[in-house]
Structure formats: structure tokens, C-alpha cells
């Protein structure tokens, strides 16, 4: 197996993005970047009416529509796409044929191909394509996420099968037939005339270890993907496509591949179809960079977005642009399987709010609870939610473990008040043995340190001891009191459940270890040999007790 490591930006750790999945992750990553720079952040439902001037889709459940504001202006965002991108540009980007027209007009190389409308029959398509140079690619005109893209079609026979699959089974009657370009597929993210990031996607794959079956290896690979903040929602699914693909290469799910043997499971490279994102930003040839920049330029009003390119790094001049994504997903490049994470959110905010470029922030230390912010929008009790301001500047945090009579809710509420009073964020939590844990963080180091003393000054508690410890994890904005299970919230119950399960496992382990130690002692010879001795000792002890009672 390849080494399991997670590459991420220091300020977008798994902890920070824990409640942001799939396309919500893109939105959250951009939003939190702006918010951390001191911009005002608001989240919306589509009913708010604030996005009528933009093209949006798949906006429910909420968490993809937001705005960032400085004192001067507000920009609205749908996922990674801001309002500088015009409606027309989005329309062009969502129609592959239209995209090609504009790209050609801008002198950007595209694969030759033909578009067929719903009315054209499969037979007619086959006839038209008989003169083409195979291999070819078949794809829907308006599919997204690589849905229904069939690549490397080698002859008319295969094309016939593909047509039935895409047009009938998947229900995309309007299709494009294109020349298949040799090379790998790259997603390049461009803002105006700058390439911010590029990544390559390998189709879903596994590497044999000589022990496990393909099915087991897929499960193992999925285990690995679950650790990656982005890939956890894009596991490898064993579907018809996978089965047919491995069968074509002579395997079944029960085959045991040799050690080190890499087996691809699909043709499709999409991350959402189980593909591996691999950062190639530094290796991208200049010529391909230029093609990507030209592609964004070719569509008026696009300004920034993802450019999908097929090409060979050894022959960069022959690369072609196959697709534009005005609302590109950036999760793959933020959390690649290999290489370095690239800060696209930072570049997007630089572009929309250049004046915030120099603002010094301690990005890695502050975030906000995304799912709680979205809850009113989901429940329809809110249609606009403004997140409280992020503290600006370097952030200091401390954890205080408070011992004594400290479990009263009144005390915890008092702590919260004091924290607000001193402009600190953090939380208070009941811990084991009747102690509580208080984490506070703020931009003023002294206030954070002085809080140790503050904790002792409440009339609602008798504090016997306050121990301090460093706290390096990020802290959420606001101050939470965690008293226990909030049974009315499903999310809280299930997260508590998971925690309890973890604890259970640990306890079981500890108990087992203890019992083993105990048994070892009991079994040890000297313990057994000294048994009579101990018995005598007990008799003495009992006698003593009897004596004492007599004296009374």
C-alpha cells in the first residue's frame, strides 16, 4: 500500500473542516479565509433572494451560498465562484459545445468533435462517426462531474454500446463525440492571468499486497480515503462500471493481485468517482499554463475557474482544453493524495479583496462551528445568518483544568460571561473526576494568562486547584458550555455516541491490560508461595480489629 499521509494547509486541518463535506467544503474553505481576514461573513438560503443575479444549482441543504463584505463592498459567492463571474460566462461553461466555440474563437486548442441533438438516432451517429480516427470519447453535452463520460472508445462496436449506456441508461440524449487525446487529464485553477494550482487525477486504483483480494483492497483504500477530509465523501464504489472494467483486464473482485501491482478500477478520473488527486503545480510546463490562462481569457466575464486539460508533459504543445468549470471544486487540490496543498481560497480572496492581502492573521487558530451556523438555515428558521467577527491578530490559547466544587452550571455561565468580558473565545467542558476543562483564547496574551486567576474568583464555585496547559488546537469563535448530551439534536446525540464508543474501546483495552497484570501477579510463583504468609497476616489484622472492638 502507498504510505497513508494527509497533506493539508496548516490552517485547514481536518478538525476545522469537520462539518464541511463535498461542495460545502469548497464554500467553507473560501468563506473562512475571508472571515479570518476580518471580512463580514453571511450565509444564505436561496429564498433570501440575494442570489437572483447569479446562476446557482444544488443549493440545498444550505451551506453553499455566502457573502463577504468589507466596509466598502460586498461580494456574493456560490461555492468557489464569486459574483465577478458573469451569468453569461457560467452559461457558456456549463455547455460543452458552447465552451468549445468560445475557446476556438480565443485560439485555444480543443479536441475536434461533433455534437448530436436528441433527435439524431444512434444509427445516424454511428454512420457519421465511421469516418473518424479512433479512439474517441463520448460525453453528454450538459453532464457534470464526469458523469456519463466514456473514454477510449476503440471502434464502432464499442461506440454503439457507449451510446446505449449514455443516452438511454443515464438519460443524456444530447451527446458529443470527440477525438481521444493521448495523455493525462489535468485540472488547472486559474485566476485572471495566473495559474494558482494544478492537479492530476488518477482513476480509482488499488495496489496489490499479495494477500488481500481486490474487494478487500478497495475497502482498505477507502479506509485511507476516510482519513482525508475531502476524500472521505468520495469513496470508491463497486458498481457496474468497476466490475466491467476489472473484468476486462482479467480480474474479479476475489482476485489477489501481486505485491506492488497497481490496478486501475475505472477510466474516469474524477475524484468523486474514487480518483486520486495528485498535486502537479510545480511540474506543469509553461506551455500548458499558457493554454489554461488563455482558456479563462477566451470566455468573457469568466475571470477565474477550473480548466480541464488533456496533454502530455513531454509534448505540452499538443495539449487541449476539454472543459471549463466556473464553479470548480477545489477539495481535491486542498487535500491531495500526493504533493502539496495549494491555497486557492487565499488566491480567490486576494482577487476579490486585494486590500486584505497584507492583513496579518493567525489563520490556523480560529474557526467557527459550521453546522451550528447552518442549522437555522436548514430548519427554515433563518434565511440569512451572520457569523460573529473573527479576532484579528496572533491568537494565544490556554487550557485550564479546574478542580474543586466546580460542576455547577451557574459557575460555567459565569465563566462564559467573564470570557466575553475579556474578549476571549473558547469553551468549558465537564471532564472526568469532577473536574472541568476551560479553554480560552484571544489576541491578548496577558488576558489569556490572567484567566487562570479569574477562574478562582467566582462565588459559584470552590476552586481548589487550577492547572494550566498549552493548547495548540484551533478554537471556535464564541464560547460554548458543554454540559452533556443535547438530546434534541440528532447530530449531538450521534457525535456523543461515537465518543462514547471510542471511550468504551479504550476502557475495554485498559481493563484487559489491568486484568492481565493482575493475573500475572496472581500466577507468579512468589505470590503463590507467600499465600500462607498472607493468610497469617490477615489473621493478625483481624485480631487487631477484635482487640480494638474489645477496647471500646
Amino acid at each position: 500500500m502507498e504510505k497513508n499521509y494527509i497533506i493539508t494547509l496548516p490552517h485547514l486541518t481536518n478538525e476545522v473542516i469537520t462539518s464541511a463535506r463535498k461542495t460545502k467544503l469548497c464554500a467553507y474553505a473560501v468563506a473562512i479565509e475571508g472571515w479570518r481576514r476580518g471580512l463580514k461573513l453571511k450565509w444564505y438560503t436561496i429564498d433570501s433572494g440575494k442570489f437572483d443575479h447569479m446562476i446557482t444549482f444544488g443549493v440545498n441543504p444550505p451551506g453553499r451560498l455566502f457573502s463577504l463584505s468589507s466596509d466598502e463592498r460586498t461580494h456574493y459567492f456560490f461555492r468557489t465562484r464569486g459574483d465577478k463571474v458573469t451569468k453569461q460566462a457560467v452559461e457558456i461553461g456549463s455547455d460543452k459545445e458552447e465552451t468549445k466555440v468560445w475557446l476556438t474563437k480565443g485560439g485555444v486548442p480543443v479536441p475536434e468533435g461533433k455534437k448530436f441533438t436528441e433527435e439524431v438516432t444512434d444509427e445516424e451517429i454511428l454512420k457519421e462517426c465511421s469516418s473518424l480516427i479512433f479512439p474517441i470519447v463520448l460525453k453528454p453535452t450538459n453532464g457534470s462531474l464526469g458523469n456519463g463520460v466514456v473514454t477510449n472508445i476503440k471502434d464502432l462496436q464499442e461506440l454503439k454500446k457507449a451510446l446505449i449506456y449514455v443516452r438511454e441508461e443515464l438519460g443524456y440524449p444530447e451527446v458529443i463525440v470527440e477525438r481521444y487525446i493521448y495523455g493525462e487529464e489535468y485540472r488547472v485553477y486559474v485566476i485572471e492571468d495566473k495559474v494558482i494550482a494544478a492537479y492530476n487525477r488518477l482513476p480509482a486504483n488499488i495496489v496489490g499486497d499479495g494477500v488481500h483480494t481486490i474487494e478487500e483492497l478497495i475497502e482498505l483504500k477507502n479506509e485511507q480515503r476516510r482519513d482525508n477530509a475531502r476524500l472521505t465523501s468520495c469513496l470508491i464504489e463497486i458498481d457496474k462500471e468497476v466490475l466491467e472494467f476489472i473484468e476486462a483486464s482479467g480480474y474479479t473482485l476475489d482476485s489477489i493481485p501481486k505485491k506492488g501491482e497497481k490496478i486501475f478500477l475505472r477510466v474516469k478520473t474524477n475524484v468523486s468517482a474514487g480518483g486520486d488527486p495528485i498535486d502537479v503545480t510545480d511540474k506543469l510546463p509553461e506551455a500548458i499554463k499558457q493554454i489554461a490562462v488563455n482558456a479563462i481569457k477566451a470566455v468573457p466575464g469568466l475571470h477565474h475557474g477550473g480548466v480541464d486539460i488533456i496533454g502530455d508533459f513531454n509534448e505540452p504543445e499538443s495539449a487541449v482544453v476539454i472543459e471549463l468549470n466556473p464553479t470548480a471544486q477545489i477539495g481535491g487540490i486542498l487535500f491531495p493524495m500526493k504533493g502539496r496543498s495549494r491555497d486557492i481560497p487565499g488566491a480567490i480572496i486576494d482577487y476579490y479583496f486585494p486590500e486584505t492581502k497584507g492583513i496579518k492573521t493567525d489563520k490556523s487558530k480560529i474557526y467557527f462551528d459550521f453546522s451550528t451556523v447552518l442549522e437555522p438555515l436548514q430548519n427554515r428558521s433563518g434565511m440569512e445568518v451572520e457569523v460573529n467577527n473573527a479576532p484579528l491578530g496572533k491568537i494565544y490559547s490556554k487550557k485550564y483544568t479546574v478542580t474543586g466544587s466546580v460542576r455547577r452550571l451557574k459557575y460555567h455561565e459565569w465563566i462564559k460571561k467573564e470570557a466575553f468580558n475579556k474578549k476571549l473565545n473558547g469553551f468549558v467542558k465537564n471532564s472526568i473526576n469532577g473536574e472541568i476543562e476551560v479553554v480560552v483564547s484571544g489576541v491578548n496574551k496577558e488576558t489569556v494568562n490572567e484567566f487562570k486567576q479569574t477562574l478562582k474568583n467566582s462565588e459559584f464555585a470552590e476552586v481548589t486547584k487550577v492547572q494550566e496547559a498549552a493548547w495548540h488546537s484551533p478554537v471556535k469563535v464564541g464560547f460554548e458550555i458543554n454540559e452533556g448530551i443535547n438530546t434534541t439534536s440528532l447530530r449531538s446525540v450521534s457525535s456523543k455516541l461515537r465518543k462514547a464508543e471510542k471511550e468504551l474501546k479504550k476502557l475495554e483495552k485498559d481493563t484487559r491490560r489491568m486484568k492481565k497484570n493482575l493475573k500475572n501477579i496472581e500466577r507468579s510463583r512468589s505470590w503463590r508461595i507467600t499465600q500462607p504468609l498472607r493468610k497469617i497476616g490477615e489473621i493478625f489484622k483481624n485480631n487487631n480489629r477484635v482487640n480494638k472492638i474489645d477496647k471500646l
Binding site: 453571511k42 438560503t45 429564498d47 433570501s48 440545498n60 467557527f368 462551528d369 451550528t372 451556523v373 442549522e375 437555522p376 436548514q378 430548519n379 427554515r380 428558521s381 433563518g382 434565511m383 440569512e384 445568518v385 451572520e386 457569523v387 460573529n388 467577527n389 462564559k416 466575553f420 468580558n421 473565545n425 471556535k476 469563535v477 464564541g478 464560547f479 460554548e480 448530551i485 438530546t487 434534541t488 440528532l490 446525540v493 456523543k496 455516541l497 462514547a500 464508543e501 471511550e503 468504551l504 476502557l507 475495554e508 485498559d510 481493563t511 489491568m514 497484570n517 493482575l518 501477579i521 496472581e522 507468579s524 512468589s526 505470590w527 508461595i529 507467600t530 504468609l533 498472607r534 497476616g537
Partner: protein, 527 residues
């Protein structure tokens, strides 16, 4: 209970637990405005470094912010006047509203000077702090010089309210009259904690029953009658103990204090007010420029139909008017909205009484400082009737509720779905006619894969629904309980094992045999 009380029908089942207690004012006024189609926003502000949740209501370009019951038409000068009791009295006096005679004394004045003044004014007197609130430090019915000295010691010394007011003590009933514009919207008085005998139960039991009753009152639910020393002494003085069984129909008071927080009952008396008293209250509000709404504290002499105004509270709580223990509730929230948004009088909120909004997901993140502002979506335009469905069959543990929620949300249906203990599922739903039609159709003819619907019973819901469509968790997942129990047991086992282990390690014979074991280890090693 024997007392007649009537609460507002349109608030029934529409006030969530999170809104109970002091948040009732905010919630009920916000709800009234929202139901009339106004734009509603909740936000937090930092006052004196404390996070406070406030709200605003608006329509078009007009927007008013509210602090508890007070809207932003009230000027800040009016608020300042009301906080200062002496200034309030000056304004009232100038406007011809009767007030008790008295005088304000600053910090520099000696107790002696105050006692001397007391004698010229004549007893009985009241001593109170100039800027105290909620009746704190108010000493009523001071009958002579020595009592006055004692009171001064207490208020100026112990409580540290240096600036005080001395005024005539007027006998009569304490009324709190809520005025909006030129209308009396509500009036309450309080009677001390009490129980009504039934010839069967002991005082102890009757207090318990009364507290059960109070828990059902959103305003009083946390203000129960406590059996403290004060109460025991009080009933003892009247010749009772907790075990006495009062005869039927006999009302026994349990304290002297009538404060609601001390177990007192709020009584709504608007319908009993005479026009003269009402006018006095209205004039009191008018006397302070820029005030337009507030609670007027009066002492009323019912026999002579006269009264005096003691003070005015611009940011008064209004919950007592909504949830009295006796008398008919008065719709103060409606009166406030009528005043601020007269154009909405015609679309009375009551007509939209089938809806309310989820307060909890708004309130806690705002007070935790996570969010700054939440804009609530507009209320549904029509008061669609609420439908109730009971589904029987194999419908629990098969993803039925989740599936149904999806369908409901896509049809913009409001309501909820909940598992019943008998294995059935209950659904409350309201929405556009055609959507409800589709929804009913889905319920009757479709189900998720694993579920099997046997029967669907349809009826009228007859209760308001929250906007949105939620899955109500009946109780904690059994798994959760099971696991925490398991954890508890394991922890105990671990502790015991640990103890045993420690004991063994520390036991004498173990310690004595250390050399023996070391030798044994050596031998083993050699092998």
C-alpha cells in the same frame, strides 16, 4: 385549580421551551410581528461586555429594534428619565399625575438629615434607592424614627445604595399597568404564594400540586414555591405546619412577600380597572416626553377610585399579562405591534396562528457569540390548515422519517414527523393545498424500500406547526444509553481491578518477596 384563568389561544403550543421565562417578551412580540408578515431579525449586542440577544421588526424601509418589550420609538432621553426616579416624579408632578410626596438625597447627605426630613414629612414612609430596579432595596411601611434609622443603615450601608428617596407610604393595591400609546394593554397585580385547601391533602402536598401547576406556566415554570425557613415561620405563625390539612375552600397564604419569584401569583386585572385609573396610567406615560410605552407602577385605593404613580419601567416584562394565574390574559404583544406597525392591524397575527418558528437554533448560537445576526424567513402567506397522519406498519427503524422529511421539504410543507411508542409514526403537516394533496398521495402510496405501510389514518391537526420540517427525536437513542451504561460498568470494573492491583503491589508479602523474585528472574534469564 379553582382560580379562573384564560390564556391566549394563538400562543397555545406555539411557545417553545427555549422561550420560557424572561425570553417570553422577546419571543411573543417577535412572533406577533412575524405572523403579521413583518421582517424579523435576531442579533446580539455587547452591553457592558455581556452578550445580549435583541430583535428587530421591519417592513419596507421601516425598521424598529426592540429591547425586551421596548421598541426604538422610545427615545434614549425618555429611558434616562425613567431610570432616575426623582426625574420621573418631577415630570409626573408637572403633568398633574399624583405621586407620593418625598425627596431625593444624594450620597453626601447624612442619615441624620434624612431622619429629620422624615419627621417633617410624617410616617408611614418608604425608603428606596434612587436607581435600583426590580424592587431591590425598597423598604415599605416605615412607621417611626428608629425603623427609619435601621432602614437607612440597611439600604445605604449593607446594600450600598448611597443615593436614596424618602416618600410617603400609600396604602392600597399594587398595580402594574402596561400602556402603549393611549391604550392600556394590560394590568397585573400579585398575590403572595398561597394554596387552596381541599380538606384532604396536607399543606406540603398542596404546595407540591401547586408547583406542578406552575411548571406548566411558561412564565412561572422556574419560579416555584420554595419551602424555606421564611415560609415555615410564616405558616407556623398562622398556626399551621406542613402536615396540616386545611379545610376545603380555605386559602392559606404562605408568605408576606408577593413577588412572583418568591412564589407569588400574577393576577390579570385589566378588565377590572376603572376609566379613571386607566387614564392616570396613560397620562403617566404621556408625561414623559418620548416614552410611548411602558409599565406604570401604581398604588390604587379601590374604594375611593384614586391612586398614585410610584415609578415607570420603560423596559418592562410583559409575560405576566400573557400567563396570569388568575384572570384573562391580555394580548400586550399585539398592542405593541399595533402601535409600531398600524398598517398591519388588519392582518391580525391571530389569523396566522398555525405557524411559529424554530427559536432554539437561533438563540443559542447568538448567545454563544458564534453568530451575530439571523434573519428569519417570512411567515407563510396563508394559514393553511394543519393535517395529522398516523402511519402504522413497519415504519420505525427503516428510514421512514428521513425519507418523509425529504419529501416534505421538497414540497415546502411545514410540520414534523415523530415515532410513537406503539410503533406507529405520527406526522403533522401544513402547506399549500395542492402540495398537501401530493403529500397525502405520497404517504398513502409510497414508502422507502425497507418500510411497509399498512394503514394511514388522516385527521385535522388542530395545533400550530413550526416552520420547516423536522424529525422529532422522541428520546435519546437506545444505543446511547446502552453504551453509557456499559461504559459505567466497565469503568467500575477497571477501578476495582486497579485497586486490586495496587493492593497487591503494596501488599507486604509481595514487597518482602522482591529479592526472591529478582533471583527467580535471573534464573529464568539464564535458562
Amino acid at each position: 385549580m379553582g382560580d379562573g384563568k384564560k390564556w391566549l389561544q394563538h400562543l397555545e403550543n406555539a411557545v417553545p421551551k427555549e422561550a420560557y421565562g424572561y425570553k417570553l417578551c422577546m419571543y411573543t412580540i417577535a412572533l406577533e410581528g412575524w405572523r403579521r408578515g413583518l421582517d424579523l431579525k435576531f442579533f446580539n449586542i455587547y452591553i457592558e461586555n455581556k452578550v445580549t440577544v435583541r430583535f428587530s421588526l421591519g417592513s419596507g424601509d421601516k425598521e424598529f429594534k426592540f429591547a425586551v418589550s421596548r421598541g426604538s420609538i422610545v427615545t434614549s432621553e425618555a429611558i434616562r428619565i425613567c431610570v432616575d426616579k426623582t426625574r420621573t416624579k418631577d415630570y409626573l408632578f408637572k403633568a398633574g399625575v399624583s405621586v407620593p410626596q418625598g425627596k431625593n438625597f444624594t450620597e453626601e447627605t447624612s442619615d441624620e438629615t434624612i431622619v429629620n426630613y422624615s419627621q417633617t414629612l410624617g410616617f408611614p414612609l418608604v425608603l428606596k434607592p434612587s436607581d435600583g430596579g426590580m424592587g431591590k432595596g425598597v423598604i415599605p411601611n416605615i412607621k417611626n424614627e428608629s425603623e427609619m434609622k435601621e432602614a437607612l443603615q440597611y439600604v445605604r450601608g449593607d446594600l450600598n445604595y448611597k443615593e436614596v428617596i424618602v416618600e410617603q407610604y400609600v396604602k392600597g393595591d399594587d398595580f402594574r399597568i402596561y400602556v402603549v400609546g393611549d391604550r392600556v394593554a394590560g394590568a397585573v397585580t400579585r398575590i403572595p404564594a398561597n394554596i387552596l385547601g381541599n380538606g384532604k391533602n396536607t399543606i406540603n402536598e398542596l404546595i407540591k400540586f401547586k408547583n406542578i401547576e406552575r411548571k406548566k406556566n411558561p412564565y412561572l415554570y422556574s419560579r416555584l414555591i420554595k419551602k424555606d425557613r421564611e415560609l415555615l415561620n410564616f405558616i407556623k405563625a398562622a398556626g399551621y405546619t406542613l402536615d396540616s390539612v386545611p379545610e376545603e375552600g380555605k386559602r392559606i397564604f404562605l408568605r408576606e412577600k408577593s413577588n412572583v419569584s418568591a412564589g407569588g401569583d400574577p393576577v390579570e386585572i385589566t378588565e377590572e380597572l376603572t376609566p379613571e385609573i386607566k387614564n392616570m396610567a396613560i397620562n403617566a406615560i404621556k408625561a414623559v416626553p418620548g416614552l410611548v410605552q411602558g409599565a406604570v407602577d401604581m398604588v390604587v385605593d379601590k374604594k375611593n377610585n384614586t391612586g398614585v404613580v410610584l415609578e415607570i419601567n420603560s423596559k418592562a416584562q410583559i409575560a405576566a399579562h400573557l400567563y396570569p394565574e388568575k384572570g384573562n390574559a391580555q394580548d400586550v404583544p399585539a398592542a405593541i405591534i399595533d402601535y409600531y406597525f398600524p398598517e398591519t392591524i388588519d392582518n391580525q397575527g391571530k389569523k396566522l396562528s398555525n405557524y411559529y418558528f424554530d427559536f432554539k437554533s437561533i438563540l443559542s448560537p447568538l448567545s454563544n457569540g458564534l453568530m451575530k445576526e439571523v434573519k428569519v424567513p417570512p411567515a407563510p402567506k396563508y394559514n393553511y390548515p394543519v393535517k395529522k397522519y398516523i402511519i402504522s406498519g413497519k415504519v420505525q427503524g427503516v428510514g421512514y422519517r428521513k425519507w418523509l422529511q425529504k419529501k416534505a421539504l421538497s414540497l415546502k410543507i411545514n410540520g414534523y414527523v415523530k415515532n410513537l411508542k406503539n410503533g406507529k409514526v405520527v406526522i403533522f403537516a401544513a402547506g399549500r393545498k395542492e402540495n398537501i394533496h401530493t403529500f397525502t398521495d405520497i404517504i398513502n402510496n409510497q414508502s422507502p424500500k425497507k418500510a411497509k405501510v399498512r394503514k394511514v389514518k388522516e385527521s385535522d391537526g388542530n395545533k400550530p406547526v413550526k416552520v420547516g420540517f423536522e424529525i422529532i427525536q422522541t428520546e435519546e437513542k437506545p444505543g446511547g444509553k446502552w453504551i453509557s451504561k456499559e461504559n459505567e460498568m466497565l469503568r467500575k470494573e477497571l477501578e476495582q481491578t486497579q485497586k486490586k492491583y495496587e493492593n497487591m503491589k503494596n501488599s507486604n508479602s509481595w514487597r518482602y518477596t522482591v529479592p526472591v523474585r529478582k533471583v527467580a528472574d535471573l534464573l529464568k534469564g539464564r535458562k
